[in-house]
Subunit: 113 residues, 2 copies
């Protein structure tokens, strides 16, 4: 069955107290989620069959954050600023090309054998 | 690549004002998300490589709610009460078997030809 959203993007917006595990909200994730949503709308990518930029609670990868996950592909990214979000929108969401430099789970690059 | 979570379950917890679109939080989604999280932990299914019960913002299928989506499969369910959550946990998350009666997107059951 065709997925309801081609790319369903979840931003962790979890906020934690100082001294707890690291917190995506303390790295500006709320602002970046709003920015991504705006960029996707501007690019005409938003809606069923296309892209959904979603708020989410803790994705439980706090030490690797701030994190997003894009389903159904299951691609996990980290990011720092608008430049990174722009690249995810333009390369991954519009162009279908993974942004390797922002991947949390790097592909195994060791030579075979 | 093996998915980080075998079943990543997102509960819409969005709350809306009266007169707006229907709201999953007004159908008890917060309580049901907590219940699902507890049941998954009790069943020993929680954690990387297994199941994550996640909070989410609006999943934009408000009129079909309350809704959850399970990735990477992309299975969308609605539910009413603990009995439905139990069935999703036991059948889908523990047993890998879709709960057809709770699907939002019903498979096409018309005979071929």
């Amino acid at each position: 069955m065709t997925p309801y959203f081609e790319h369903h993007v979840f931003f962790c917006l979890n906020r934690r107290d100082p001294g707890d595990r690291p917190s995506c909200a303390n790295c500006g994730s709320e602002k970046m989620q709003e920015y991504a949503k705006k960029r996707v709308k501007q690019a005409g990518l938003a809606g069923p069959g296309k892209v959904r930029i979603n708020k989410a609670g803790c994705l439980d990868r706090c030490e690797e954050g701030p994190v997003i996950v894009i389903y159904p592909q299951g691609t996990w990214y980290t990011y720092v600023d608008e430049t990174d979000i722009d690249e995810i929108v333009e390369s991954h969401l519009a162009g279908g090309k993974i942004v390797e430099r922002l991947l949390i789970d790097k592909p195994d690059t060791k030579p075979a054998g």
